[in-house]
């Protein structure tokens, strides 16, 4: 009798039901050859206290001008790897403390050059309860496939402008990825007066810029005395040379 009661109590106790996922790697940069099939493992681990159901789905992405990720249906990007990719298994349960290894295979077709990318999201399935908000989480594992030696790093500053801001100067720098691989941009803007640097402003730290995308970097400087100044942007995007641009502005 006591055992039966204990069993009922145990069964009716709420499950921990937390979610905790670990994904490794969350970025994959894989050199390949057109027509060759590559297979890469991704490990998904359940760090929570309850069994979790995980679904893998593909999503294309790019970087918006504001530097944020934008996600698209798989295959929508001009440089999508999704149409050439398969994931197995696509759905699985993971016990607490256990992991599932997922095999990701892709074959970039012949005549493709440069880099192709997509994301695999590993997402937990939320538990639906009437009258409540259920939660799920998803972690991205990015895949970049670079075909042979066709990768070309390229970037250019296509705009430097200074906009008045209350009590300050806002410098806007446009950077465009003109290569065929993703790049990370670091850089600064120097405010100069008569050739002398009066202020240095960081505008980018490891800012991701995907193939074919453009970002607008911003930095706000201090209030300046009246006069004519130059804003000089210097960006390092990992290419053989730095890129930059400048503009002249007047503070009244």
């Amino acid at each position: 009798m006591c055992a039966a009661v204990a069993s009922i109590l145990a069964a009716s106790a709420p499950a921990p039901a937390d979610i905790g996922l670990n994904v490794i790697p969350t970025k994959n940069e894989i050199p390949t050859q057109a027509g060759k099939t590559e297979t890469v493992p991704v490990t998904v681990r359940n760090d929570g206290q309850d069994v979790v159901h995980v679904q893998a789905s593909l999503s294309d992405f790019t970087i918006a001008p504001n530097g944020q990720h934008v996600f698209m249906a798989p295959g929508k990007s001009a440089f999508s790897l999704a149409p050439y990719m398969s994931v197995n298994p696509r759905e699985f349960d993971i016990q607490p403390g256990q992991f599932q290894q997922v095999r990701v295979s892709f074959t970039v077709p012949e005549h493709k050059i440069g880099e192709y990318a997509t994301i695999i999201f590993f997402q937990t399935r939320p538990t639906r309860k009437p009258g409540s908000i259920g939660f799920s989480e998803r972690i991205a594992s990015k895949f970049y496939a670079l075909v042979g030696d066709t990768g070309r790093i390229g970037g250019e500053v296509d705009n430097v402008a200074v906009q008045p801001a209350p009590g300050a100067q806002k410098v806007v720098v446009g950077f465009k990825n003109v290569g065929n691989v993703h790049v990370y941009v670091n850089g600064r803007v120097e405010i100069r007066k008569a050739g002398q640097v009066v202020e240095k402003l960081p505008v980018a730290t490891q800012q991701l810029v995907e193939r074919g995308s453009r970002v607008v970097l911003e930095a706000t400087g201090k209030s300046l005395p009246a006069g004519t100044y130059d804003a000089v942007a210097v960006l390092d995007y990992g290419g053989p040379k730095l890129t930059g641009g400048q503009t002249t502005f007047t503070v009244h």
Binding site: V23, K27, S57, F71, G75, R90, I119, P130, I133, Y184
Partner: protein
């Protein structure tokens, strides 16, 4: 075996013998190339109705209504990852809101640049006239997060949101709108299925949602983000058939 050893010994001896006297103090250096690769990795844990430790806080919750009687805290029935606002009293002439204190805690560990976002899945789950605002606890949305779980100090509802054409156009001070994903749900099966398609687009978000925390550099340790979550109902919001539920996704993307 003996023969091999003998040959090796002879070779060593011969090598020693042929060394010129002038080279006796000259050393020959070799180098070993050490190469390794550390992959990017990330772990994200999520709890609702969180306590001081960032874990699930128990069966009772704390709700603040924008006016008396709008909502009432639940004395029991809460489970982790399912937040219950109970029954809300809609007002035909004014927006009402109900704020869930210590609603969501996120715990992140990663060795790379990171960004954590949140969004609600599909408009079907959140009808017109209904919307959510999030209020950060001890952090700034879009910032790097906190070193430990931080609980809310809120003692009242922060004030209702502003609706425009059935959608929240502005939250009360300190709040941020939680967007609704504009993508599609392609796999809604109640039971696990194995999609036949080459790929699926489950809960695909058109944008990134609300940027909760992020940094261009990896964190030195565990990073936390906590928030209160406010449910807003536009004036005379339509009644729902039975109890309505919604899904919120917490998304992590490394650089």
């Amino acid at each position: 075996m003996k023969r091999i050893l003998a040959i090796a010994a002879t070779a060593i001896a011969a090598g020693t013998m042929v060394l010129p006297a002038s080279a006796a103090s000259t050393f020959s250096y070799g180098s070993v190339k050490l190469q390794w690769n550390v992959p990017l990795t990330a772990t994200l844990n999520v709890h609702t109705n969180y306590n001081a430790a960032g874990a699930f806080g128990g069966a009772a919750n704390t709700l603040f209504g924008s006016a008396a009687g709008v909502c009432t805290s639940q004395a029991s029935g809460e489970t982790d990852l399912n937040m219950n606002y109970g029954t809300l009293a809609v007002n035909p002439a004014a927006v009402v809101s109900c704020t869930y204190k210590n609603a969501v805690a996120m715990q992140l560990t990663t060795n790379a640049k990171y960004q954590v976002n949140e969004y609600l899945d599909t408009t079907a789950e959140v009808p017109a006239g209904t919307g959510f605002c999030a209020y950060p606890n001890g952090l700034t949305f879009g910032g790097v997060g906190t070193a430990a779980a931080t609980q809310s100090v809120r003692a009242a509802d922060p004030g209702v949101a502003t609706f425009t054409a059935g959608t929240i156009s502005a939250c009360a001070a300190g709040g941020s709108y939680v967007p609704i994903a504009s993508g599609t749900v392609s796999n809604t099966g109640a039971a696990p299925t194995q999609p036949n398609a080459v790929y699926t687009g489950e809960y695909l978000a058109g944008g990134t949602g609300l940027n909760v925390i992020g940094s261009a550099t990896p964190p030195s340790g565990v990073v936390w983000a906590g928030e209160d979550l406010q449910l807003n109902l536009d004036k005379n919001a339509p009644a729902t058939s039975g109890a309505t539920s919604a899904f919120m996704t917490i998304q992590l993307v490394n650089n």
